[in-house]
Symmetry: C2
Subunit: 309 residues, 2 copies
Amino acid sequence: MNYIKIFSPATVANVSCGFDALGLALETVGDTMTFSKTDTKGVKITKITGADLPLDTQTNAAGVVAIAMLEKQPVDFGIDITIHKGYTPGSGLGSSAASAAGAAFGVNQLLGDIFSPLELTQFSMLGEEATCGTPIADNVSAAIYGGFTLVRSYEPLSIVKIPVPADLRVVAIHPQVEVKTKDAREVLPKEVPLKDAVTQWANVGGLISGLHTNDYQLISDSLIDIIVEPARKTLIPHFDLVKKEALKAGALGAGISGSGPTIFALCKDDATAEIVYKTIQNAYQDKQIDFNMILSKINTEGIKILEQH
Amino acid sequence: MNYIKIFSPATVANVSCGFDALGLALETVGDTMTFSKTDTKGVKITKITGADLPLDTQTNAAGVVAIAMLEKQPVDFGIDITIHKGYTPGSGLGSSAASAAGAAFGVNQLLGDIFSPLELTQFSMLGEEATCGTPIADNVSAAIYGGFTLVRSYEPLSIVKIPVPADLRVVAIHPQVEVKTKDAREVLPKEVPLKDAVTQWANVGGLISGLHTNDYQLISDSLIDIIVEPARKTLIPHFDLVKKEALKAGALGAGISGSGPTIFALCKDDATAEIVYKTIQNAYQDKQIDFNMILSKINTEGIKILEQH
């Protein structure tokens, strides 16, 4: 294979109760990336469209990942990468993760598919570390494995793929405000009351069980975050309004996507998702803040090959 | 129905990562209780064998529960209760819970089966409150529902029954030392680092997923408690030794049952459970502390009717 074109999905990390542990991948939002073998050794990012991001391979998540992979597995060819960002970086939908995971997947294909999904996740985490300061795995694992993923452990890295009810839909609103990852981290409590931690892990257990059994009521009941959301929602204009309207319109739950500012809602089917979409849209219309809306299935297969030769 | 004889199981609460949220019921250890209609209104505990416990219905967990039920549903008969404790109170295997849940179940049968399992759990929690000071639901829900149960929420009370791999076995050792519930509560941290809470809820998610998919490796990897066990194990003589020997002998995981002093180990089948049983027994033999050993299947149906007429 000399060329591959792929789609790497946007991802929602945390998913309410599962801070730093859960992620899910979107079907219709993500990056399109190409990877071409070249005669000149090394990695080059030759073009980025859709967003203003560095072509420099030392600072771009995709570049960092690709270089690390070629260091691990030296080859006699080079790789040119192009990236089309399908959504805005800084939205809280795992933008750097999509590029990092896409690079891990694409480069691995050109190398002859020699790395496991877990190894691809580990390479992708280097991209997260380079761009966000932390080698966090929740977004990249969701992009690579698809569906819901649980980062069960970091040492050793252990990713669990959780089944997804087929009709589950994600509605999301991205208010065009900047939430710096640094600020989003700084508002977090360093310590939490044990009883709150118990409440949170009981909900994580409920959510995981609900996903395994297609129990929408249980999923809905468990989509509660009493630890991170109360701290972070202050950074997101009209969060409470959006959440309230989404729930009133029938969403199973709503919360902050990653570190925000995107707010996501999970819905049990297309019809509900469309109502939730319009309700949120209406509620935000007069708020003097530009915003994008998303309605998506959940991507269950991870990164997709669009073309190869 | 004028008479019913039931078996109410012993239970392991917490199950490593799931402090105050998870419980499981044992097949072969528990209380045998009888409930007889009488002409004299009110509740009497006429006999307790197997342990030295109060017959007074205001202080005995079973009495407290039965009285609350008859207050809620007045009837023109009375109820006599007998209890045979099949194991030692104060062992950390839900002794008061077995009596409380057994009473809820038995009285409900004499009332014509008018309460749901959730309502029976709520009544049972009154027995826990009266005897332990806290209306905790993890043991009583496991006794009533059977199998693994998750107390997802207290307000409102929400119990989730989690499936159990058929071959799963419990080995437990009860060192005959007293661990006061008060002490076991006092050693707990009031606050925990957020990153430790994340580790813990990731393991809860992994354990629940592993139980749903019969994934013994995932169950084993997830049976980790970095919050409560390090604090409480100091109250249990030779805890580290027992855990180390259990794991070396092939147990999936081991931890403190409830607030101790019983130490439980989960094993993937009978053969492993027998090896783990003998290994723990040998390790404790020369420790100058009397102890009981248990090897049990997991009770998947909850409280059982032994006789009725």
